[in-house]
């Protein structure tokens, strides 16, 4: 019975959870994806130069992308073609079949600010509320919400960002 090992592991785990291991916004030549020998390594913009100017977050790109959009920090184009219809929907869906976790509030508004209806319907989700079965294992494996959340949209590090509505009988958060 040696205790130090688990204690060390705990310390490392805590550090990982706190985001203190692994620098954010590494120079491209050190990110283990770009080739440091590439002739353009000093021409391409480094992530930190741009992302450090945007509202901060503690995971993913370390950017609150929705705040960046709504606060006018970025003005991304909605269309390339003149005749593309921009479709927005201001409607929340509350998912109540969440076991012991808080209910999930899905805001259509912010999702349609980034995406078109056809990106999700009926390809990932049926239009009828409650008709699509999903669970956290699938989501963590890249299905349903996990198609984007954990790949490009904010990752699955903070349950409360989605599980934001206290279930009946639960203490409010």
């Amino acid at each position: 019975m040696k205790l130090p090992k688990p204690r060390l592991s705990l310390a490392l785990l805590s550090a990982l959870l706190a985001g203190t291991v692994g620098a954010q916004w590494l120079p491209l030549g050190k990110d283990q994806v770009h080739d440091p020998q590439s002739p353009v390594i000093d021409i391409l913009q480094a992530p930190g130069e741009a992302l450090s100017q945007l509202p901060p977050d503690d995971a993913g790109n370390h950017v609150r992308w929705v705040d960046a959009l709504r606060g006018g920090y970025i003005q991304p184009r909605s269309t390339i073609f003149d005749n593309t219809q921009v479709r927005l929907l201001d409607q929340d869906i509350v998912m109540r079949n969440t076991g012991s976790a808080a209910y999930v509030r899905f805001p259509h508004r912010v999702h349609t600010e980034w995406l078109d209806c056809s990106n999700c319907h009926d390809y990932l989700f049926q239009r009828k509320a409650g008709a699509t079965r999903m669970n956290m294992l699938g989501i963590l494996s890249g299905e349903a919400c996990g198609r984007c959340h954990g790949a490009v949209a904010f990752p699955l590090t903070d349950c409360k960002r989605c599980h934001s509505v206290p279930a009946d009988g639960q203490v409010g958060q």
Binding site: L16, L17, D31, V33, T79, N119, G146, P155
Partner: protein, 121 residues
Amino acid sequence: MKRVWGVAFALLLPAGAAAEYGDVVLNRYSDDAGMRPVVFPHWFHRMRFRCKVCHHELGFEMRVGANDVTMEGIIQGRYCGMCHNGDVAWSAENCDLCHSGLPGLKTHIVGGHRTGGPGRW
């Protein structure tokens, strides 16, 4: 107990590399053609275009490896070539600006930041 910690580490460690969250490596053809793999930075593009522009108007599937992106298609104005045509963005003659990845990298997306999420596909 050791196994539990091992699993915990596997789930928590950032996926392999330290590249920016959402970066996509495309290497279906590059290595074989003697070019560096392509690195597509989602962060750079989403500052300028909403997701729907590429994933709705341009037709990019939202799944790494699901898009058969070729230079022929790009030069004909499909996929990246919809913008990278010298008009909206710089044109496809600037090979190195896209083909900037480490040789030998597999096609994947850098994700799963601090989770075992889809970035580990």
